[in-house]
Symmetry: C2
Subunit: 460 residues, 2 copies
C-alpha cells in the first residue's frame, strides 16, 4: 500500500530544494535555435541527467547528431503499465532582450512567479515529474510502476534527431502511456487534461530581386520591389475571413464533433477578458468558429518575422535586393506537414511574382494529434489532479504543437496524457516568461500521486 | 579672354592631387541618418570648407540645428550671371556592411573606379565643381562670373535645416542658375543634362498588435497577426498594374508631353540589357508606360525595409507584438508631399485593420521639379560637356529626388542645371558604391569650362 501521506509531507519540506534545482537549470541558456548555444545545450543535458540520478533513477545521455537525449528509468514492475515522461530542456531564443525586466537566464522571483526563459516551457514543467518520481525513493517506497524519462534538447526547433531515432529507440522507450507537461491549465487554479495538439509546418520564405540593393529614386518603377512582392504573396495566403488559400488545404481537416463544440461552449470562454489580457482591442480569426475552436481545432497561418532592407534609424531609399519572412501553418488532425508543404509549393508556383525569384526553406514540421478523452489513463490523471489542485480537471485541446508527440503515438503505440501546469499568460515564447511557483509545486504533487493512480490501470 | 588651354593643362597635371583630396573626404563616415556619426559629419564639413579655401574661395561654415552648411564664394563680376553650386557632403548608411568588397570608408581603386560610400553620391561629384573653379585661380585667371558654393550635410535625410533656413539665406545665396552634380550620365561616355527630378514622401509604418509577442501555437487563430495585417496593408497600396490606390493620388500628376515621350523614345533604352545589369529576370512597373517614363516621370511606391518579429537563425513560433516597414512614394510635378501625406492618412483610415493599431511616422518629404530644357544655361552647359566628354549631352530626367532643389527654385527664383557625372551602376545607395575616375576628371574638366560658357549668357 502506497504511503501518499509521507510523500505529501516530504514534498512540502522539499520545496526550497526543488526551487534551487529549477534555478540551476534555468541559468543555462540552452537555445536550440542558436548554433552558438551548443555548449549550453550540452550543459543543460548534463544538468538534467544529474537531477534524474539524484532522483534515484538510472540515467544516461544518448548522443545524437544534434543536442543529446537524456534518458532515465526506474526498475520494471511486472504486471503494471509502463509510463514514459517526455519533456525538453531546450528553450526558445530570448529576444527581444530589451523587453525583459530581469535577464532571461537569471531566474528571478517576483509576485510568486519565477521569471526566466524556459521557466514554464519546459524546464519547470519537465522537472515536476522528476521530483514527483523522486518523492517515492526519498520516502523509502519503490515506484508502483516503471517510469521512464526522455528529455530532449531540440523540441523548439522540431525534434529532428529524436524523430530520426524513434524507430531504433522504440524498444527502449516502450510504454503504455506517455506523460507530458508542456502546456497550460485552463485557467489559474482550474487544471486541465489536454487531449489534442495542433501540428505545424514551418518555413522561411525569401524573395530575391536585384543582385544588390538599388537606389529607389533612380530605379523605382523599373523593377518589382521584393518587399512589395513578399507583402502581396503573404497577403494572398489567407483571405479576410481567415481562410487559408492553399489548394486542398482543408480537404483532410478533421471536423469538430457537436459533442466537443458543446463541451468547449460549457467552458464559458470570455473573449473580452482574453483580448484585454493580451492587449488587443478585439480578437480576430477564421469566420464561423469560436475563439477556442480557432485556437485548438482549426488550422491557422502566422508570420513570425519579417526581414529585408533597411531597419535602422531614419530613412534609407533603397529597393532591397531581397525580403523574407518566417512563417508557419498550424495543422490539425489529419493534416500532414509533408502534404501541406506540397500544397504550399503548388500555391507558390501558381502565385509566382514577376521579376523576382521565390525561395522556400523548410525549417520543421510535425503532425497534430488527438487522443481518446475517455481512456482509463485520463481517469487516473483526474484523480491525481483533483488531489493536488483541489478541483476536477476540464478536458481541453491545445493550439501549440509538440510535433514529436504524434511520432511517439505512432511508434510506441502508447496512449498520451498531456497535463499542463502552466498558465496562458506565462509568455512561453515571449519576453518575461514565467512559471507560477504554486503551480510548480502543485505539478510535483500531482505527479507524485499520478504514479499511484496509473499503477491501478489494467494494461490493455 | 579666358585661357582655357592652360586650364586644360593644369587639370591634367593636377589629377593625383584631385584624387588624394577626394580620398581624404571619402574616409570620413559622414552618415547623416546615424546620430552616432555626428562628429564625422562635422569633420566632413570642415574638410569641405578647407578644400574650398584651398581653391581660392572665401569659405565659411554656417551652423544649423543639425549638420552645418558649408558656404563659399568667389568675387562678384558685375554684369555677369551668378552661379550657385549645390552639393552635399553627407552619405547614405553603408549597411549591409558584409556586402562591401573593400570597407565603405577606406576608398579603394579597382578597374579605374574609386570604391567608397559617397564616391558618386555626392562627395566626388560635388568636388568636381570645387576643382573646376580652383583651376581658374591656379592658372592666374579670375573666375569670369561669381560662383557660390552651398554644400550641405543632411541631403540623405531630407535637408530639413537648409529648408528651414532658405528664406533667411535667400539674399546670400542669390543666383541666376543653380548647378548640381548629384546624378548620372545617360550611359558610360554619353553625357546628359537632367531637367527634371522626382519628389518623395518617406514614412515608417508600424502596426501594433498584442502587448508582447505571443506563442503562435496557443494564440494562433485568436488575434490578428500584425505582420500579416502589415502585409495586407502594404499589398493594398499598389495594385497589380502598378497603380497606387491612395484617393486622389493621380489628380495633380503632370502628364508627359508627346514631345518628351518622343525624345526619350529616341534614346533607344534597352530593357533587356538594363534588366540583366541589375540582375532581374524581367522588369516590372506601372502598365502603359515605358521603363524610362516609369523611372523619370511617373510616381511610384516602394518598401525600403521590413521589420518585426524573429529574424534570427532557425524558427521561432511567435505572433510578433508589432511589425513595421520603411516606405516611400516618389512624386512627380505637381504632387506635393503634404498633400500625399494627407491622402495616405485617409487611405490608412479607410483600410484600418481589425485588432491592430496603425502608427504612421513622417520621416521626410520633398517636391519634384522640372525646368525648361531650352534655357540658355542648358545651351552653355552643352558646350562645356561636349568639350569634356567629346560628345553632345542628351536631355533626360532623373527618378531620384533632391528635395531641396524644388525649394531653391522657389526661393531663389533661379534656373537649375543638373549635370550628372555618375553612372547608373555606381550603386549610389548600395554596397560597393563607386565613381569612375575618368568621369571624375571629365566632370572637373567640364566644370572648369562651364564657368566660361555661363559667363556668356545675358542675365534675363
Amino acid at each position: 500500500m502506497s504511503d501518499l501521506e509521507s510523500i505529501n509531507r516530504y514534498l512540502r519540506e522539499s520545496q526550497p530544494s526543488h526551487l534551487s534545482q529549477l534555478e540551476d537549470l534555468l541559468r543555462i541558456p540552452s537555445v536550440s535555435a542558436d548554433p552558438k548555444s551548443k555548449p549550453a545545450v550540452q550543459q543543460a543535458a548534463e544538468c538534467v541527467r544529474n537531477t534524474l540520478e539524484k532522483a534515484g533513477l538510472r540515467a544516461e545521455i544518448l548522443p545524437t547528431a544534434g543536442p543529446p537525449l537524456v534518458y532515465a528509468e526506474s526498475p520494471p514492475v511486472p504486471g503494471k503499465p509502463v509510463a514514459l515522461v517526455y519533456g525538453h530542456y531546450d528553450v526558445q531564443p530570448p529576444d527581444p532582450l530589451d523587453k525583459w525586466i530581469s535577464p532571461p537566464f537569471e531566474p528571478t522571483i517576483r509576485n510568486g512567479n519565477i521569471y526566466a526563459r524556459g521557466a514554464t516551457d519546459d524546464k519547470g514543467q519537465a522537472l515536476t515529474h522528476v521530483f514527483g518520481a523522486a518523492a517515492w525513493a526519498a520516502t523509502g517506497q519503490p515506484l508502483p510502476l516503471q517510469v521512464k524519462f526522455l528529455i530532449e534538447g531540440e523540441e523548439e526547433v522540431g525534434s529532428e534527431q529524436l524523430e530520426k531515432m524513434l524507430p531504433s529507440l522504440a524498444k527502449k522507450l516502450a510504454a503504455d502511456v506517455v506523460v507530458i507537461s508542456d502546456s497550460s491549465q485552463y485557467a489559474q487554479g482550474q487544471p486541465a487534461i489536454t487531449y489534442g495538439l495542433r501540428g505545424i509546418a514551418y518555413f522561411e520564405l525569401r524573395l530575391h530581386g536585384p543582385k544588390h540593393d538599388l537606389h529607389s529614386g533612380s530605379f523605382g518603377g523599373a523593377v518589382h520591389n521584393p518587399a512589395i512582392a513578399l507583402a502581396k504573396l503573404l497577403a494572398s495566403i489567407v483571405d479576410d475571413d481567415g481562410r487559408i488559400q492553399l489548394p486542398g488545404f482543408y480537404d483532410n481537416v478533421q471536423s469538430l464533433s457537436e459533442a466537443e463544440r458543446g463541451m468547449w461552449h460549457g467552458l464559458n470562454f470570455d473573449d473580452q477578458a482574453f483580448a484585454s489580457q493580451i492587449g488587443v482591442p478585439q480578437l480576430k480569426g477564421e469566420r464561423g468558429f469560436t475563439t477556442l475552436e480557432r485556437r485548438w481545432a482549426r488550422p491557422t497561418f502566422d508570420v513570425h518575422g519579417l526581414m529585408g532592407g533597411y531597419q535602422g534609424e531614419g530613412g534609407k531609399t533603397i529597393i532591397p535586393a531581397w525580403a523574407g519572412a518566417k512563417i508557419s501553418f498550424r495543422l490539425v488532425p489529419n493534416q500532414q506537414p509533408a502534404e501541406v508543404t506540397k500544397q504550399f509549393r503548388q500555391f507558390l508556383d501558381q502565385h509566382q511574382p514577376t521579376g523576382v525569384r521565390v525561395e522556400l526553406i523548410e525549417l520543421h514540421g510535425g503532425s497534430g494529434v488527438v487522443v481518446d478523452p475517455q481512456s482509463p489513463y485520463v481517469a487516473a490523471a483526474q484523480l491525481a489532479l483533483a488531489t493536488a489542485f483541489g478541483k476536477s480537471a476540464v478536458l481541453i485541446r491545445e493550439g501549440g504543437s509538440i510535433p514529436i508527440v504524434a511520432q511517439m503515438v505512432q511508434h510506441l503505440k502508447a496512449d498520451v496524457l498531456l497535463l499542463g501546469w502552466g498558465l496562458d499568460d506565462d509568455g512561453a515564447h515571449s519576453p518575461n516568461e514565467k512559471f507560477h511557483l504554486a503551480d510548480y509545486y502543485r505539478g510535483i504533487h500531482a505527479s507524485s500521486h499520478l504514479w499511484h493512480h496509473l499503477a491501478q490501470v489494467s494494461r490493455s
